[in-house]
Subunit: 199 residues, 6 copies
């Protein structure tokens, strides 16, 4: 591989790192001033896509890959706020990721573009099972995060919980969204702490 | 799947989300007070593992999965600081992830434990190519992040850049670490901004 | 005035307050992770517009008003990042502010729309002197802020200083941009502290 | 204008920018640890002063100017906490702003001093209608901000809402404070989001 | 004293300063994302140890000293999260502080080691009254902080209040923990503000 | 002790905790936007006072106590910025701490007032050795913190280093200030990390 390719991959990796500094704008509307980054969201979307796909009998690693890469275009357009959708038109994720990967080795570039394209296909007739798992993971992640912020005291996030739950399309996604309404965000360490003492 | 499984998956997902609040302790030592979370780190480790594996001819989606899950045990032990290694003994990641996934459906549990185990195998004779890609991604991510913090003005991070570069084991990892020393963290938007104007 | 008008004004004021939580995205690109809000920027644009207009012989209070309101549409579209301009099309500020003020008393609504429109006219043949002062203030504010961040150690903001300086159109704006390159951001308290002791 | 004047204006603008880093101390008492800056407060005071003045038949641009500049002296004395008033004596805003503007061109200096003086006159027999609008805006801004923080979960801010409402002197200010008790801080985007979908 | 001793003391003081950047991990579990540092905690532990010892008839300055130094070993091992105790074994505070003070003058070193040792003795038959005051102060500080965070809206901290209260061993500690359940965290400024007006 | 005393002590402890939210204003002037709290400063002042007193042959626990309590009055007046001293007059720390401790048991109250008074005596003929150690610790702490911020990239803090060093009065304080100019803030973990590997 020519040296230039390595430099281009490094530049691409720095671009991906910008998602660490890209705020999820929905939380700002809900009053969460120091909310998560798109990178943090994408991390758990990847995890959830893996989990949902495993339950659905789809390919978990493929689904995790879709979840991991699905917000990559936001390095260039940010997380367009829902209140802005009436006023903003964006080019397709396909077009943006095609630009983002312009310097990469052809094979790698094609793979990343394909991953973004497949995630975007979730709402079309061409949807793959993995794209549906990844999209459900995207929505479920927001639902879980909303509940975690509610635990911190935020009072105006019910709409996020509700609309995220309604967006589920897979059987697993629907069941998880329903279960999430009954599981405390602190359940994992609460039960654990009770078992081992808190000292 | 019994209902209890969905509740357990939700609790597991909240636990994974705790990595959004788990600081990477190395940066605190280097003077970066509001540094990234383990979730942000894991996001880019997943992306880099994918990229390195694609260049190495390994399975990119498997490598991305290893990268995504590799720090999951840190929800329970935190990111043990390097200066603490003389004083702290931790049980194996295998043991922790076995506890973390105790309530999950068996098949899913086995998959996640296997992913953490495989990542950990990277320094052993049993290392798979994907584990080596994931481990190199872990180190390369720290190198890139150190350079991004240096751009912000931090003056004591040279050691992170150097030791991360030296830890590379794959040919691609070595080439990327070398290239990273010459690529500005802002190159991606600088060249882009020059092309389209900054307005 | 009907009661509903007061409720609508309150809702409008809460919307304006959202600019306190709207990050200036340019700084994120430059590596400033906890940068200023659009509200903080708008505050100093108002002050600078006043000052420039006073020096230019224009109406300072009109210019300050333009500066204060000019980013109001960003409550709905955010601060579109410069790297996104290739990919994002937004409706005009006029259209957005028309929506934002829909519930206000007619006279007040017309005034606010006119203020945003006048600021936007700065680059057109219909430019008023006050709109040119307000636009120069917008650019000069970014220049001063870039220099303040450079003082904190940020190393990649030269481009912001340069491009902001080049955007000046009024004689006062040009002279201030030139002077700014020689004045330390801490000059005001440094000279002051020397005069009264720091004790 | 002599070159020195431009340098002095730049130093003055950097001083005004310090309000971006000056915390509003009242919120700290109320438990809001990462609260707004004085610059953010001043931004919305300017907007509200404009709005109130328009409703009151006063000069909106004059009122906005008073609101914008009214806290300028806080670059030198900070936002003196209410609990400190028994223990702290400060010189008048007039004296401080006279020092702050010492290097500015005479005409500009006189204008800025006059703006601060006029705002301060609000509680005296010399009060102008615009000073009363600006002062009411100052109090109303705190009321709205308190309600926005309450939305985030803060539980001890009732006193801010109550005492701010009681401080109103104009008919518009009183009507807005009354209306504010019934309007949700998220009403603006809630109704908007319902209209266009949240997708 | 040889020059090297001064350099070693400075290095030791920088190490102590690292507690300003060491997060209290318990709050992260409870959902408090931007919580206090170990240094902030230690400050109030010192104050409370002084107060409790004065009430108990023990030596307040000795107790304050124990409280001030008790978490010093956390510069090297961090604040081990309660959920990690099953998985983490740490060497004794005695061993760590012995390393931390290796370069200090012998007399000073012995004093600091003795202070950490005495604090640690609180749960042993060798407990001194001052060590019990310092340990109660450590727990009471957490209780008060939990209540302060509850005031900010956090909803899952009851367990911290309860378990801290139960850990008290001195009569004063028990009485203060009981009293704390009835005193609002804002009582001090509320009553004060009412007395002098809030204007 | 009557129950009311316990409630008063709790309120006093909450007041002391407010120093966790009280910013050190000097750093804001120097461009450090998210700087330390007065509580964090006080923690290390206590530690340094102890160390200096031990080297000076004074009572280390007394000196630590003075350092711990010396900024207690700042809960009511904040950290008055150096640039404000021309404009602000404050009542004496004695008077403030007398109010702060009004509800405490008499003996405890007298002790705390005496500690603040003794610290304040450092610049008077009545200075005790411990008060001089505590005052030097206060200045040295600022010097060390300035150097730690410089490590993060801040460029305008030389004045803090210089003026703090000049303020030293004890032989130990002078020697430590001189040594501090040659010791890297990261020396403690750098040498340590080299010894045990950074892995």
């Amino acid at each position: 591989m020519p040296d230039q390719h390595f430099a281009e991959i490094v530049a691409f990796a720095h671009e991906a790192g910008h998602l660490k500094h890209t705020p999820r704008t929905g939380w700002l509307l809900g009053g969460v001033r120091n909310g998560e980054s798109v990178a943090e969201h994408s991390f758990r979307v990847g995890v959830l896509a893996y989990v949902i796909a495993a339950c659905e009998g789809a390919d978990p690693e493929r689904a995790a890959t879709l979840g991991l890469f699905h917000d990559l275009p936001e390095t260039r357009i940010g997380d367009v706020p829902s209140v802005g959708k009436k006023y903003i038109t964006t080019t397709s994720p396909h077009e943006i990721v095609t630009d983002q990967t312009a310097g990469l080795p052809e094979d790698l570039r094609a793979r990343i573009i394909a991953a973004v394209d497949e995630h975007e296909s979730a709402k079309t007739p061409a949807a793959t099972p993995e794209s549906q798992c990844s999209r459900d993971a995207d929505k479920l992640e927001a639902l879980l995060q909303a509940r975690e912020y509610q635990r911190e005291g935020y009072t105006q996030l019910d709409e996020w919980v509700r609309s995220s739950a309604e967006a589920m399309t897979t059987a697993t996604g629907k069941a998880l969204a329903a279960a999430a309404l009954d599981v405390s965000p602190g359940e994992w360490w609460g039960s654990f702490a009770r078992a081992v003492g808190r000292g």
